[in-house]
């Protein structure tokens, strides 16, 4: 009985110490979880900003490209149609470019690239007629880089080509748009 009385205060002290350790470990876990949550929020905000920046940079790039790509040597009219002019696409050259589609797939760094004739409209009620060497120039769409599932930007351009009129070769220019697609970010 005396022995028990001597041991009891020791046990209660041990229990108190265990309780303290438990309290501290719970506290530490809570602090840890708190910081982890704060970290997660910071990372998600950072990632969100990064995504927004990346999208706006890509959009800006596509917009600038749409307004400038018609002047690149592979598409521009040069001095073929009387004088040098800006935003003029040589359709004959674009048709030849169609044959080399694969080579130029990554050349401009765009997800898609299309030239669409908007005026005059085609005689057929059909909206889009893809150009081939056989139906050219009775068509209104030249797809140089194909990827329809991308957001895009466009710019108005003159579409010029050579045509036979009364037995003679003449210059003919029509109105169109050049559509530049860019890859979105998931």
């Amino acid at each position: 009985m005396v022995k028990k009385l001597i041991e009891n205060p020791k046990k209660t002290k041990q229990k108190k110490a265990q309780m303290k350790i438990q309290q501290m470990s719970f506290m530490l876990i809570a602090v840890f979880i708190f910081f982890a949550l704060v970290g997660m929020v910071v990372v998600s905000v950072l990632l969100n900003n990064m995504q927004r920046d990346a999208i706006s940079l890509k959009e800006e790039n596509a917009m600038l490209l749409a307004s400038r790509i018609a002047n690149s040597p592979e598409l521009s009219c040069g001095k073929v149609y009387d004088k040098e002019r800006t935003n003029c696409i040589d359709l004959d050259k674009a048709m030849v470019l169609l044959k080399n589609k694969e080579k130029y797939k990554k050349f401009w760094g765009v997800a898609s690239l299309e030239i669409i004739k908007t005026y005059p409209k085609l005689a057929q009620p059909n909206n889009e007629v893809e150009c081939t060497p056989q139906n050219y120039p009775n068509c209104n769409l030249i797809t140089l880089v194909n990827n329809s599932e991308t957001p895009d930007r466009y710019s108005y351009v003159a579409l010029c080509r050579k045509e036979i009129y009364k037995g003679e070769s003449v210059n003919k220019c029509e109105l169109g748009i050049i559509v530049v697609g860019y890859e979105g970010i998931q």
């Binding site: 940079l57 800006e60 600038l64 018609a70 002047n71 690149s72 050259k93 030849v96 080399n100 401009w108």
Partner: protein, 336 residues
């Protein structure tokens, strides 16, 4: 009195011992707290460094992408030799790399920012472009950069060459021919800014201190020598041949290895464009009965370009290009 003092000391020593025992008990929980604290601290420091790393990568990726976007107006542009000042957003480095292995070769750009007095990692985000030709020191370093472009024609426009210089790298052009002097004065503008890094002088002595001396007469001692008669640029013991002012500036601002690689890429694009014009010639003849009569020369040029290996062949290529241009100018059906 003495004895009493001795007996009084005993209980004090006993209580000190007890305290020491108590200290030992407390120290266990302290050790536990310290270990856990260190663990949390290390983890949070690791997290913060990771976040800084991501931020640095984001900055350099953004920087490289911005250069791509910024150079868009220079490529496919009618304006040339117009210079823009680009803010590096603090101390920055622009690394350029040229590869000539694919059909058009590749221009790679990456940037590095100085954050907390340390440069962000060199293996940061790269931006690759097949239709850009950038000539600069490698790496070019500074707080602000001047960017300008000039079209390269052979005989039609092939591409716009883009030049990047740091405002901290001063170039002094001594006794330049009239046309080059006028062009440089146009680039500088009417009122030179505080950041100005191009100087046109008649005498070497007038050049600012620590500037790179570019001279056009063999008698001068200079860092870069341009021979307008021999059509070459001598720099660091290496000779780079050029045709036209666009390539001359390219040779001045870049190193031989980069210059030769970029010229090879330009010749690859020229070859592809000549092939395009050859096909166009056949297509237009078939569709609209319009004959350019340039087929033979175009094939000759394509073969010459296919075998291109170094800048000293550029003079021969240019000679044929001039012949073709003359023929195209008076052709019934112009190709370009």
């Amino acid at each position: 009195m003495k004895n009493k003092n001795i007996f009084q000391l005993r209980p004090k020593l006993n209580s000190q011992m007890k305290n020491k025992r108590g200290d030992l008990q407390i120290s266990f929980s302290w050790i536990f707290a310290i270990v856990a604290g260190i663990f949390i601290l290390v983890l949070s420091i690791y997290g913060v460094t990771k976040i800084i790393g991501i931020y640095q990568d984001q900055m350099s990726g953004k920087g490289a992408m911005s250069i791509k976007i910024l150079t868009n107006p220079f490529e496919s542009s009618f304006e040339s030799a117009k210079r823009v000042l680009v803010d590096g957003g603090g101390e920055a480095r622009i690394y350029t790399e040229c590869s000539n292995y694919s059909v058009f070769g590749v221009q790679t750009v990456k940037t590095s920012q100085k954050v907390f007095n340390e440069w962000s990692e060199e293996d940061s985000v790269e931006v690759s472009m097949q239709n850009r030709y950038i000539f600069s020191k490698n790496p070019v370093e500074g707080r602000n950069f001047y960017v300008f472009s000039k079209p390269f024609e052979m005989p039609f426009k092939i591409a716009d060459l883009i030049y990047i210089t740091s405002t901290e790298d001063k170039y002094c052009f001594v006794d330049a021919p009239k046309d080059i002097e006028e062009e440089l004065e146009y680039i500088i503008g009417e009122e030179p800014s505080a950041n100005e890094n191009f100087f046109v002088e008649e005498r070497r002595a007038n050049c600012p201190e620590r500037s790179t001396i570019v001279c056009f007469r063999a008698s001068e001692t200079c860092d870069i020598f341009v021979s307008t008669t021999g059509k070459y640029v001598q720099k660091s013991g290496a000779r780079m041949y050029y045709e036209g002012n666009a390539l001359m500036y390219a040779a001045i601002f870049s190193e031989k290895q980069d210059y030769e690689c970029q010229l090879d890429r330009l010749m690859k694009r020229t070859e592809q464009l000549f092939m395009l014009y050859k096909d166009k010639s056949d297509f237009v003849l078939e569709k609209s009965n319009c004959n350019s009569e340039l087929d033979f020369e175009l094939i000759e040029m394509i073969n010459l370009l296919r075998d291109f290996s170094s800048s000293n062949e550029i003079i021969t290529i240019n000679r044929l290009a001039e012949e073709i241009e003359n023929k195209n100018r008076y052709a019934e059906c112009k190709l370009w």
